[in-house]
Every structure is written in C-alpha cells, then in structure tokens.
Symmetry: C2
Subunit: 436 residues, 2 copies
C-alpha cells in the first residue's frame, strides 16, 4: 500500500471511517502514519486524531507544527475533544496553538473548558449544543436549529433556557416535529430534566446517566445557567476505564497497561506489587525463622505452610473484591455497614468450618500425627476468619478515608494475610506440640 | 411513609423517576414493595419493573397473577424488555402471560424475540423503531414518523428501507428538519450505515457501537431486512457486566455476586475456588512431604517457601491479566502472538534477574549459609520465568480453544504456579545441599 500513488490512497481513506483509519495507523511506523495522516483533509484528520489512543496522540502531536495543529484539527473538532488535545500539549506549544486558532469562538470555548478540573463534569463536557428560548415558537425553533445544528454532530436533545440563560427543560426533536409550528415552546417542553453541575464528579455523572439511561446530560453552573452537555460515549469510556483500573489493581498491576506498551513500561507497572510480594516473602521467612526450633523438631509442620498461606490469600481477596464491587456499584446506602459485616461473618464462619473439617478428614486418614491434624484444622479455621475480617473491613475503612478501596484487593492485603496466617499457624502448632 | 394514606403516596410516586422508585422498593420488604407497586399506573409500573435487578424481579413476578403481568406491564413495555421479562418466567406462566396480552402485535414481537439466542444481537434488540421508505418525501416521512413515534421512546435514527424492507441507510432527524418538505428521502439519506446481523454476538455489537460511538445500531436478517435496533444503554450494561465477570474471575468468585445476595449464595460463589486452593495446598503438602529428608536436614529451606509461592502466584496473575485485558479490548490483531510472547519473555527475564539479585543481596547479608542463598536466588529466577510463561500462554491457548481466557487469571493457575514453584525450589535446594 505504501508504494501506491497518493491519489489512490487518498480515495481509499475517504471511504474509511475515522476509527478504522486510526486502527490502521496504529499498525504503521511513525513516519508511515504521518505520511498517511497528512493526506487527510481537515475534518477527517481531526476525527481520526480523536480516535488515536492518548499516549500515541501525544507523541504524534509533538512532530507537527503548532499552526498546523490549530488550522488542521482544532478548528474542526468538538470543543471537548479540542480541549483534551490542547491540554495534552506542552505549555509553550499550547499557547502558540491557542493563538493560531482563527475561530475566536472556538478558541474561547477551549480556554473556558481548560479552566475546569479534568475529572469534573465541566472538564468532560462539550460546549456544542442546541439551545432554544422558552418564548420562541416551534417555527422560530426550527429556524434556529438549522443555524445551530451545523456545529453539532448529533442532536440528542434540544435544551430550553429562559432569557437569563438558565436551563428550564428539554425538548425532543420528536415533540418538535409532532407539534404545530405556531405552538410556543413553553407549552411543550419537558421541565423534568436531569442535570449536573460543572463541579459534579465524573463518577457521579456516569452513575446518573447510567441510572436514567440518558444519551446526553446538560451541565449547568452554580446559578443554573446552561454551560454544556456530556454525551453517552464519554460515559461508556469512563465505565470501561474504571473497570480496568479495578481489574489491574486486583491483579497487581499499577497504572495503565496498554497492549502497545514497551517492555520497560510493562516492567514499571508490575514492579511495585512484586516488590511488596518480595518484602512479604522476606517477612514470612523471618516469621518462620523465629520458629526454627518447632520446624526442625516437627518437619511436617512445614508441609502445610503453602496451604495456610494460599487459603488466607484467597479468602482475603474474595472478601475485599466483594466489598469493592458493592462500593463501586454505588449501593453503599442500601445495605448498612453493620449488616454487611454480619453477613460476611456468617459466610466466614461457614467457610472456615467447612474447610477445617475437610482438611481434618484428609489429615486424619493420611497423617499419623494427631497433633499436626488438629493444628492444621484449627489454624485454618482461625486464619479464614481473620482473612475475611481484614478483607471486608480494610476496603470499608479505605473508602471512609476517601482512599480508593480497590487498593485493598491488591497484593498488599494478600501479603499481610499470608504473614498473619503463618504466624497463627506456627503459634498454634507450637502450642499443640509443646502441650503434649 | 407506610402509614400515610394512599393518595399521598400515589402523588409522591408520580413525581419520582422509575429508577428511583425501584431503588426505594429495594429497601422495603416484599409486602411493602408489593403494596407500593400496586399503586402505580400501567406505564410507570412497567418502567419500574425494568429497573428492578433481575433476581428480585423474578421473585417479584412470582407473586403476581399472569393476567395482571400481561395487562399491567407487558403491554406498556418496549419489546426487548418485555421479552426479557417473559423469558424469565416459568414455562407454564410464560404461555399464560403471552395469551393474556391483548395487543397482538406486541405479543408477536415478543414471540419473535424469544426465538433468538440470548447473547446474540437478535436477543437484545428491540422491535420498536422508526422506518421510512426511500421513495417517500420529507413530508410523508414527517407524517409517518408522528404515527410511528408513539410506540418509540426515543428516536435516535430514522432507518431507511426499500420496498423489500431491506435496510438502505439512516436519516437523522436533523437532516429531515433541515430539508424542504418536497425533497425525496432517497436524495438525503446516508447510505453509509453500520449494521449488525441478528446472529452477531453481543460482544461484537458492543465493540462496534463503542468504536464508532453509536447511540443505536440497526439489526438485519441474513438477507438484509431490517429487524430491530439495539440502543446504547444495552451496551453500557454489557460493558459493565463483562468487566464485572473478569473482575470476579481474577478475585476467585464464580457467578454473579450482587450486594443483596443471601449468605448461602455468597458461600456458593466462593466455594469452588477455595476448594481448588485447598486441593492445591494438599498437593503442596505432598510435594514438601516427598522432600522431607531435605527439609529436616536444612530447616532454613522451609523459611523461603512462602516467598517462592507468593512470587510465583503474583507474577502469574499479572501476566495472565495483561493477556486477558488485551484480548478483551479486541486488539488481538494488532500485535501478533509471537511478538507478545517475545515482549513477555523480555519482561520476565528482567523481572527474574532483578528479584533474584535483590533476594541474593538480602540473603548474603542476613543468612550465613551460601548454599541457601544461591538456592533461593536461582529458584526465584527460574520460578518467575516459568510463572510468566504459563501466565501468558495459558490464556492465549484458552482463547484459541474458544474458552473464556479469564479462567486463567483465577486461582487455578495461581495454585498450579505455587506447586510448580515449590517443586523447582526443592529440587534446586536439594541439588545444592547434596552437591556440596
């Protein structure tokens, strides 16, 4: 494809969807991608840019001159995407790009959007929307919409404001079409509109849109003036990212790991948790070392070290992730903390009893040593209760301290459970063997 | 609130959003919920029912008579939600309910939808949509839309079909409004429409809608006739559910755990993985038992059992979940399997070297025994390489065998890695101590 002539390539690209072009470019080298990219016309080029993953986009923008970025992309983009692109630029380039934008209104919108915190509703909203006044008629509305609609890709809802720009309600295109052209907007709009504040946190926006199945939600300022809208695609991305974050936490990976990452990026993401694992292992060695006498006298005690450690780890992770999930799905209010704890304690008691009995039966028939049989069963029972307790309470405490409770599902708690488990096991083993 | 009079309650409910009523009902007992529920009028009642979590809904429907279900909910529901509700009923109740539905068209739609597989596009689509013919003019269209729009909650796109009902393209309401009423549809519709087949799998539908940021996607049959549409809210739910499934897999929980679950449901979800952990622990005990001589001669060998097992488990889970995530995000084509393996091997070699050196330094300064120091370091090196290798290849193999690769992140592989790690450690330890 590379060696074909320009026109053919250009023709081909025109037929492709921006998301597909971005995918093709991801397969190519930087130079090839740049070559192809420069063949695109403005609107397409900006659409493709939005589809490129953030890390690659940053690298890509570095090789392009500021006035080119301004004229070729920013002018064609929706304000929210444009603000994202501009925010990713280095400070000096950012200024240059902003000054190169010819469309003053667009430049103003971008500057406005950059003011908001990145993870607030203001930070993710777009300024493009269709607004009508309560006093207009359907006919005026239709005319205004044709004028405004040029800037907006998709009209999901038409927002209705009063003379002070305060949001009064929404109007569906459907209603507009179904009504007589002389009807006043104030008679047909729906005043029951869900809205969020510019400072509302991203999580909450996603929750509201998901709960009420909204395609788009309007964003207002402190005094209720319409400032922008957030669309469903931002929410899908957010839901996906959040889930990925929790997933990576529980599997012991820090930060964003993307399929195209370099070796050292992967190493950096995996290193911290492994280091905790190593330190935990060393502490485990110290615990075992302090009970050297018992271990050397009764070698069989060592046989069940992996079992105790594994069960402690598994139970702990299960408990934490159930709590983390219930926090994440926003149902914290439905079940009270105490009810949650009582349920978890019942589950822990049952689990502990079942597995203590199972391992007792196994050891009773395979090990000659009754001291060992009792030590392992009793330890396992206590260890499971402990691990459940830690696993449940620590995420709840983290959540109350406004720390991401998903931290508790990571190797940190597992490691802690391992060590506590070993300690309990050795103490109980020692008791049994010294006692008899 | 319970003791207040009916009218006041009814008034209050009318002002609440269905999703909010469902949330309130979740807090109440079954009888209270039922009492409130029966106060709702038909349309609201059906909207609330859709918002109730599936398990609760099933229980709830059991206490209501079939003709009541038919007349009070099904008639007011979108066909996709109605089909979901009907599918959840017991077979005999299902038939009765279907026969009680007075709106024959609705009953037919539901029966049609029940034919499709649950996780195919056909199984999640709704039959309600706005269709226009290519030969119509904008004016005819507007009239037709007013007629059809009554059934459809939200018009996202207007689908354009030919005389044989084959899907030709889409038309946005925006375009319709902006054009002259005499314009023919064939001149203004957009023929470049993304569509899926009724048999397309749910995952793929979600991927396509997400990639192209679609609010809704049309579903066609084998010969291209328009059959239904899938909307963005189904995709958000799907993305969330898939993420939850992977998350539960990696944390060792089987099946759906919902915050309101009973103790025995929680126990059942956690039991299988813990049982695997127990069996793994027993196998670990057997492995250690078969090296009893070495362990009793050199007790210090036992000290590092937790370290080896923990590192093997952590590295394995990290590797698997990176692979699982890259498969889930659908980028399998971008990096070839061999490239992925080479990268993973580099990461593994680096990780193994770093941690082997770290533990060597630690042991060199704290343990007097050089044999032990070497055994631990060399074992750790080999164990990390092994665990990375298993962690990477097993999900890839599962994926090729069309088994959910997320299985590999569960305790099964962790347990296997633990045991292999122990075996390697003991073999190397024995070699060192016998050799010298």
């Amino acid at each position: 494809v590379e060696n074909d002539n320009k026109n053919e390539l250009q023709q081909l690209m025109e037929e492709l969807h921006p998301a597909d072009i971005a995918e093709v470019m991801d397969d190519l080298s930087m130079d090839e991608a740049k070559y192809i990219y420069l063949l695109l016309d403005g609107e397409k080029a900006s659409d493709v840019l939005v589809e490129i993953p953030e890390n690659d986009r940053r690298r890509f923008l570095k090789v392009l001159p500021p006035e080119f970025i301004a004229s070729k992309f920013i002018e064609y983009m929706d304000s929210d995407d444009a603000a994202d692109v501009v925010a990713a630029l280095d400070d000096d380039v950012k200024k240059e790009v902003l000054n190169e934008i010819e469309d003053i209104e667009q430049a103003g919108d971008i500057v406005d959007l950059l003011e908001y915190e990145e993870d607030s509703a203001g930070g993710i909203m777009a300024k493009e929307l269709v607004v009508v006044n309560t006093n207009w008629t359907v006919a005026t509305c239709l005319k205004e919409i044709s004028r405004q609609a040029e800037e907006v890709d998709e009209i999901y809802y038409i927002y209705v404001v009063d003379d002070a720009e305060k949001l009064k309600g929404v109007l569906s295109l459907k209603k507009l079409i179904l009504n007589n052209t002389n009807t006043k907007i104030s008679n047909i709009y729906n005043p029951d509109v869900k809205m969020v504040d510019t400072s509302t946190r991203q999580e909450e926006v996603a929750e509201i849109m998901d709960k009420y199945d909204l395609v788009a939600i309007p964003v207002v300022d402190e005094i209720g003036r319409l400032k922008g809208r957030i669309t469903f695609d931002d929410v899908i991305d957010f839901v996906r990212e959040e889930a990925e974050k929790d997933y990576q936490m529980v599997s012991g990976i820090t930060g964003d790991v993307e399929p195209g990452d370099k070796v050292w990026e992967l190493l950096r993401a995996r290193f911290p948790w492994l280091l905790i694992g190593l330190l935990g292992g060393i502490m485990g060695a110290l615990v075992l070392g302090s009970h050297e006498d018992a271990l050397s006298k009764v070698t069989e005690l060592a046989f069940f070290i992996p079992l105790i450690a594994a069960m402690a780890g598994n139970v702990g992770v299960q408990s934490s992730s159930i709590v983390v999930q219930s926090i994440a799905s926003g149902v914290k209010d439905i079940e009270s903390t105490s009810k949650k704890l009582i349920k978890e304690i019942s589950v822990a008691l049952l689990t502990a009893s079942i597995f203590a009995i199972l391992i007792f039966i196994y050891n009773y028939f395979t090990q000659g040593n009754m001291d060992l049989t009792f030590s392992v069963s009793i330890s396992l029972f206590i260890v499971i209760i402990f691990a459940s307790f830690f696993g449940t309470t620590i995420p709840l405490i983290l959540h109350r301290l406004k720390i991401d409770p998903a931290l508790a599902t990571g190797p940190f708690i597992t490691t802690m459970n391992d060590i506590c488990g070993l300690l309990i096991y050795l103490m109980i083993g020692k008791m049994f063997f010294e006692f008899l």
